[in-house]
Each structure stands twice: as structure tokens, then as C-alpha cells.
């Protein structure tokens, strides 16, 4: 009764190869209108960016599709990034739109290996917005900027009629100087590299969803918004040349980051489900709603790819940073299948982890 041979389905294998070829082609933008799926950070967003936006601008820096764009000016390597914040509601457990507006941009610089230096702040205010609410957000922005070490040096303000901005929208642009210790690139991953996350995942998106109160569901989960430069600084110090790439896992969650990097580097990734740190309450709420925490937005977590020999040190350095105590190694980079992210389930089977097309939780950042 023992196994006598192992077989692989030949026809199935050929179909899978055809599909991978189709997936690796540059997408075409086929939708007639923009839908909320295009804002979710998943596949629809990716297609919008890769098929409609990038081809129009002819910029190699843009084509790299990092969290920030790199530019060299007078011998200095600088990183530039921009982000808009349309989160609803504007206040939620653990923070508000003002904090996100600073931390989101500062973190895109940080994970590109750039120390945040300065920010611009653009406000679009809805007619009828209460001054007290605005004041509270301005104070939150100021506090977050101080905390991050970046200075707000310029800005703009517009007002639109009632009904056109959901209280307020914020756009921040940040500039930073790329740290000489950083040698990061999304295409730098090598088989054998280890993958680390800086803490428990899925908190921000879940907190927003619960704050919307549209579900009869209640749990104490708070957004994890925080600036990540201290964590990046510690990592650069402990393992600088061995760090391949870093991303902050915002819209689309950790799953999106892993898929994007696997594609950019042409490698495979395997994640061990049992090692992914998730707060039990987040796990419970997600299970109730049929959502995988790997697809849920974070606002203070980074995903790190590091050479195997430096992984222990990197992890130790990270865990010593405030807020990153639950950092964990969750998987590694493999030869293949190229561009694919696989999960070894806690149960012992193996499955694919793809990005979602849209997002079950719109407007989370």
C-alpha cells in the first residue's frame, strides 16, 4: 500500500506555463471607467499604473516602481515620494488622517533607504469642515512631523464645495537623502534571501473597517501608524550591505509587497503561514469577515528582504526598536516558480498567495 511513483500532471503543467507567460506580459488597460478597485493597491491598481501611467512618462526612475523615485542632483542621491490620503473616517482608533499623511510619506522614503528631510503639505478642505476638527489634524500633522524628524517647508490649501472632499483630503510629498549604507533595489532579491516583517500585520485596515461601524462587529484593534526611519536606521547599521529591499506594506497588505518584489526580481517566494505574526483579535475579526490579514493594509510595518547570513542580526536589531518587538522571519526567496508567492499552510499543504484584484475595504489610507 505504499507510494509506488510520483507523477506531475503534464497537461496541467503546460496550462500553468501558458498562464505565467500571459501574466508576465505588460498589461493593457481595458476598463472603460475608474472603479474603487483601481484604488485598492491590488491588481487593478497595478494595471492602472503599469499600463496607463508609466508608459506615458518615459522615466527610468519611474519604471523601477519603488516606493520613492531616485534622483541625483549635484552629486547627492535623493529620494522623492508623494502620497495622497483620503481615509474615511478621518479619525480612527490609533490615529487620524494627519498622522497617516506624515508617516505614510516618511515611510516611503525610509524604506527606500532615505532619511526623511522635508515635506510639503497640500490640503483640500471641504466647505463646512469645523475649525476644531481642522485644528486637531494640523496638530496631529505637526506632532507626527516632529516625531519623524522631517520638516514641513511648504504647502497649499484649497477649499471645495460641500460634498466634494469628505471633510478633508491631504497630499504630502517628501524628500530625503539616500543613506550611503543602503544598497536597495526591488530587483535585488536572490534565492536564499530571508524575509522579515517588523511586527503583527493587518491592524490598520481592520481598525478602519471597524471604525466605519457598518458591520455589527466590534473589537479593540488600533491602527499601527508610526514612522519607520528608526527601524530602517537600525537595520542599515546592523546589516547595511546585506539588505536587498524594503517596502512598507500599505494598501494591498504584505501579499502585495511579496508579489511585486517576486515579479520585479524574477524569483519565487515561500512564506510559512505559522510564522506570520498576527494579533489574535485581528485574526478573529478577519476570519469572521472572510478576509486574509495578508491582504489588509498596514501603516507602520515594513517588509524586509535580507541575505541569509545577516538575517539573525537584522532581526535582533529590528526587535530592539520600539514597536518592532514582534518582528519575525516569515519566509524566504527561492529560485522559482518565478514571480510567484507560495505559502506553506499551517496545516501542512501548500498554496499560492496572489494579490487581490480590488479591496474589500476601500478608502483605508
Amino acid at each position: 500500500m505504499s507510494a509506488s511513483e510520483r507523477i506531475a500532471g503534464g497537461r496541467e503543467q503546460r496550462v500553468l506555463e501558458i498562464i505565467e507567460t500571459a501574466r508576465s506580459k505588460r498589461p493593457r488597460f481595458r476598463d472603460e471607467r475608474i472603479t474603487t478597485a483601481h484604488g485598492a493597491g491590488g491588481k487593478a491598481t497595478q494595471t492602472l499604473i503599469e499600463a496607463l501611467l508609466v508608459p506615458a512618462f518615459g522615466s527610468p526612475a519611474l519604471e523601477a516602481l519603488g516606493d520613492a523615485g531616485a534622483v541625483r542632483i549635484g552629486g547627492l542621491d535623493l529620494a522623492l515620494t508623494t502620497d495622497s490620503f483620503v481615509v474615511k473616517p478621518i479619525r480612527f482608533p490609533g490615529g487620524s488622517i494627519g498622522e497617516l499623511a506624515v508617516n505614510g510619506t516618511v515611510n516611503d522614503l525610509a524604506v527606500s533607504g532615505a532619511r526623511p528631510i522635508a515635506l510639503s503639505l497640500s490640503l483640500i478642505l471641504e466647505e463646512g469642515l469645523e475649525t476644531d476638527v481642522l485644528r486637531a489634524e494640523i496638530n496631529a500633522i505637526a506632532a507626527a512631523a516632529r516625531s519623524s524628524g522631517a520638516e514641513i517647508i511648504t504647502g497649499d490649501t484649497k477649499v471645495v464645495e460641500r460634498g466634494h472632499a469628505d471633510q478633508l483630503y491631504i497630499c504630502t510629498t517628501g524628500i530625503g537623502q539616500i543613506d550611503p549604507r543602503a544598497r536597495l533595489s526591488p530587483a535585488a532579491l536572490r534565492p536564499g534571501d530571508r524575509i522579515i516583517v517588523s511586527g503583527t500585520i493587518g491592524e490598520h485596515g481592520t481598525a478602519i473597517m471597524l471604525a466605519r461601524g457598518s458591520f455589527e462587529l466590534d473589537a479593540e484593534i488600533v491602527s499601527d501608524t508610526r514612522p519607520l526611519w528608526p527601524a530602517v536606521d537600525a537595520l542599515l547599521e546592523a546589516a547595511g550591505p546585506s539588505l536587498r529591499a524594503m517596502r512598507d506594506a500599505t494598501r494591498g497588505g504584505v501579499a502585495t509587497v511579496l508579489n511585486e518584489l517576486a515579479r520585479a526580481s524574477g524569483v519565487g517566494i515561500v512564506v510559512r503561514e505559522a510564522d506570520v505574526p498576527v494579533h489574535p483579535t485581528v485574526a478573529a475579526a478577519s476570519e469572521l469577515l472572510g478576509i486574509d490579514p495578508m491582504h489588509v493594509a498596514n501603516e507602520g510595518k515594513l517588509v524586509l528582504f535580507v541575505a541569509a547570513e545577516a538575517a539573525e542580526e537584522a532581526l535582533a536589531a529590528l526587535r530592539a526598536v520600539d514597536g518592532c518587538e514582534r518582528a519575525a522571519q516569515i519566509g524566504e526567496v527561492t529560485e522559482g516558480p518565478a514571480g510567484m508567492v507560495l505559502v506553506d499552510t499551517a496545516f501542512g499543504g501548500r498554496r499560492v498567495m496572489d494579490q487581490l484584484v480590488g479591496d474589500p475595504l476601500p478608502r483605508i489610507c
Partner: protein, 52 residues
């Protein structure tokens, strides 16, 4: 999920999973529930009271 509060008049219960997420649930389709009961819930309705 475990029942943490009962509203017998309206046939509702507040239920919680072990790790803290709480959910309002219709209880009209099962025998009256008490605090600490475990129920199987679908689309906001308790369909079965679980043993133990």
C-alpha cells in the same frame, strides 16, 4: 462564537470569538441562549448551539 450578552426581548445576542472580535447575532432560530454558550453563526444568524 461565545455569547457575552443576551437581549432576549429582541432575539439578539452579542457574541465574541475567543480573541476579542464581537458581533451582534440573531438568536431566534436556536433555543434561548445563555452567557457562555457557543454558537455557529452565518450571515449574522445563529444556526446551531454548539456542545460544551
Amino acid at each position: 462564537m461565545t455569547v457575552v450578552r443576551v437581549d432576549g426581548e429582541r432575539g439578539l445576542a452579542l457574541c465574541a470569538s475567543e480573541d476579542g472580535a464581537r458581533h451582534t447575532v440573531e438568536t431566534g432560530l436556536v433555543d434561548p441562549v445563555s452567557l457562555g454558550d457557543s454558537v455557529l453563526v452565518h450571515a449574522g444568524v445563529a444556526l446551531v448551539t454548539l456542545p460544551g
